[in-house]
């Protein structure tokens, strides 16, 4: 392949010389050029994945700062920092160090709150990103592998959130760990031994914070970075999906090039994401552990809700009826059902989405063009039904708050939500399916008959050009190439 640029005389600037000095040693300048010209289809819904990536970057940067002060230990010391109400109280070293970050490290509270906000947005962006992939059918072959990697990333994100949330060793996080221990303990066969292994003995032990710390700052982020790299490399290599449109086929990608159109906007988004999260951290208090106080075995507070993404699990625990199964001297506690079985029933089908879709549609071929959600009515309806079920669980996690707001007995709210969990998903399924079918019959922008485009000429006249010429030329020109 001859590079026409090489024959053209030109002055090479600093960037070119630096790039050349590297590619001249390791090779791959044509690869670099090719990738700089790579085409990205654009659509607003493609943004969520980027948002997740950028909040993860904020998490890593703020997290590194926090590790420089956090002390992952449960030794008891007397608090002597500048928060007056807690002075003289016996707290764990972990709690003490988080108090120090919050009150005595200049800028520490900002970084800590930004870190926590970033975590909330990280998981939220992942959820929206997944919804986009699901409802447009982007998970289909050949991207089924990347769907599974994405699911593992979601689980890791939840684990990162939960372990991080537990580290300050305050009352709320201690309560969360206690519930976790109860779930582990109830597991058949291995429960008690496993609980002792994790906590270093009978609850609460003195090891758990010191163990969660490396899990939170090394093991989980390490796995996330590794899988995220594979995730992105696959997106890059397999190329993006795109919605159908003029000149867009299964065999091509139509959009803007990485440099500069896509990169300028995407890097802009990185900074905007960081800006919003920093502003949240600066303005809104989050996880005010000085109000909860240090973990105290004999205390628990009402309105103790976990971070939003654990809400469905909390709701499952609250809504599940008090059933337990006894089989010959052994008991399967209801917390096994609500804390292990139900979450598994939520996550296992999520992992299997590409194969379930393949089974239901009988379509196992490759797809690069996205479905509009309305055009895959059953899939959309299943998605809406599942989201409804998880939403009911999420509401269940705050059933005491709802009961108090509505001034109703908690038991009534619980009963209503239990019933809703069973009947709302099928209703949502039916409604979503009906809406999709109705929308299918309505002509959308793609179905609109367009006579042609009216253009104004340089001398002030107007005339119509036929649509067959395609928009701006290049897209239309290539329709024939791929046919």
């Amino acid at each position: 392949m001859t590079d026409p640029a090489a024959t053209r005389p030109h002055r090479r600037g600093l960037v070119e010389r630096y790039v050349d000095s590297i590619t001249g040693r390791v090779g791959g300048q044509s690869w670099l050029t090719k990738n700089v010209r790579k085409v990205f289809p654009t659509h607003f819904s493609f943004l969520w994945g980027e948002l997740a990536l950028y909040s993860f970057i904020v998490l890593v940067v703020t997290g590194i700062y926090l590790t420089l002060f956090f002390h992952g230990a449960q030794d008891h010391i007397v608090y002597t920092g500048s928060y007056e109400p807690l002075r003289g109280v016996r707290v764990s070293a972990a709690y003490n160090s988080v108090m120090r970050i919050s009150y005595d490290v200049k800028g520490g509270l900002l970084i800590r709150q930004t870190h926590h906000w970033a975590a909330l947005i990280f998981v939220g962006a992942i959820a929206l990103h997944m919804a986009r992939i699901f409802f447009t059918g982007a998970f289909r072959r050949p991207r089924d592998i990347n769907w599974v990697i994405g699911m593992i990333l979601l689980v890791l994100a939840l684990a990162a959130g939960f372990t991080g949330y537990s580290l300050p060793d305050d009352l709320l996080s201690g309560t969360g760990l206690r519930i976790t221990d109860a779930i582990i303990l109830a597991l058949p066969f291995v429960g008690e031994r496993l609980s002792y292994l994790i906590f270093g003995g009978e609850w609460p032990g003195t090891d758990i914070i010191a163990r969660l710390y490396p899990v939170h700052i090394l093991i989980i982020p390490g796995l996330i970075i590794a899988l995220l790299s594979v995730h992105l490399a696959l997106v890059w290599h397999q190329k993006h999906t795109q919605f159908a449109g003029p000149g867009r086929t299964e065999g091509n990608v139509v959009g803007e090039r990485v440099w500069p159109a896509f990169a300028m906007k995407s890097i802009g988004l990185l900074f905007l994401t960081a800006a919003v999260i920093t502003a949240l951290g600066a303005i809104f208090d989050i996880n005010a552990i000085w109000l909860y106080g240090p973990y105290d075995a004999a205390a628990a507070t009402s309105y103790s809700q976990p971070d939003w993404y654990i809400g469905f699990l909390e709701g499952s625990l609250r809504l599940f009826p008090p059933w337990e199964t006894r089989i010959g001297g052994y008991t399967i506690n209801n917390i096994v059902y609500s804390g292990v079985v139900l979450p598994t029933l939520i996550f296992a089908p999520l992992f299997a989405v590409p194969w379930i879709d393949r089974f239901l549609t009988g379509d196992s071929s490759e797809h690069h063009l996205l479905d509009r959600p309305r055009d895959a009515a059953n899939r959309t309806a299943i998605g809406v039904g599942s989201i409804t079920a998880v939403t009911v669980l999420f509401l269940g996690g705050a059933q005491d708050v709802i009961a108090n707001t509505l001034e109703m007995p908690v038991a009534t709210v619980t009963r209503v939500l239990q019933v809703l969990f069973l009947i709302a998903p099928p209703i949502a399924f039916w409604l979503a399916r009906r809406s999709c079918l109705a929308l299918q019959r309505r002509p959308g922008p793609d179905h609109t008959e367009r006579e042609g485009e009216i253009v104004r000429t340089a001398d002030g006249g107007y005339h119509t050009i036929e649509e067959t010429a395609g928009r701006d030329g290049p897209a239309g020109d290539h329709e024939t190439v791929d046919a």
């Binding site: 920093t278 004999a298 507070t301 052994y330």
Partner: protein
Amino acid sequence: MTGSQVDDAPASGAEGVAAHPVNRRAYRAAIVSFIVAPIGGVLAAVGYWSGSTESLLGIGLALCLGGIGFGLVSWAKFLDFDEDVVQQREPLRTTAAERDDFHDEVEMTKQTVGRRGLLVALFAGSLASLVVGFVGPIGSLGPKPRGERARTNWAVGRRLVTSDGQPLSASANGLDQIATVFPEGFVGVDDAQVIVLRVLPELLTARTAAGSVDGWVAYSKICTHAGCSVGLLGIDNRQPQVVRELVCPCHQSSFDPLDAAKPVAGPAPRSLPQLPLAVDDEGYLVAAAPFDRPVGPIAWDEA
């Protein structure tokens, strides 16, 4: 400038920009953003050095980051690439030739490495033993359970003391009030936490009255559902009969303190174990016996 992957020069570039009216608004927005950014940076520095407020530092940083971000996006908008570049997908599927090529390698491996079944089996066995060898150190993470969960520090005659070590006098007044107590000498020990309350003795059912003294009843404070501390006494006197409930704040399980703390609502499947009470010579409440079963959420073999 056309590379091998981009099949056609886009209608953008210098020519494309010229064709569109220049987006003055985006241009101005980019200028303003890139001016706001350094102001934000200075603000952040002032916020930090003056030590006045943490929010000033944060808002300054947010302005700086936001200025850069918004500036870049506006700049891109001003340049108005509006590209519709077409790139062909390279087929991802494996070709028959590739498959055959790989098959040759697999065959070669079978002929060479795979020929000595004994070595393959021994090698696999060595790897398996390596895994087994690592099981031991994993066991060091925690001791084997030796029935600790079946015992607490409660023993016959041991006083109930509050978290500051004060014993509870049986003659103390305080109907319908609750207190958290521990066995004397074991304040703060997790599995020994007990909730004690006093009600009119005639309200208690027979099985509960057996472990009570003078209307005092005591139960393990650990919820049998997920192990949170049952911390609230709900008294509902809107109904003709006053209803008392011990409530767990985590998942809203509630228990009837008048009848063996049996679960009446919420996800808890079992009653809170009752601590039988007695009064010692000095008139203080003591345990008449330890708990008769494990407290809190149970393991599968603790039925």
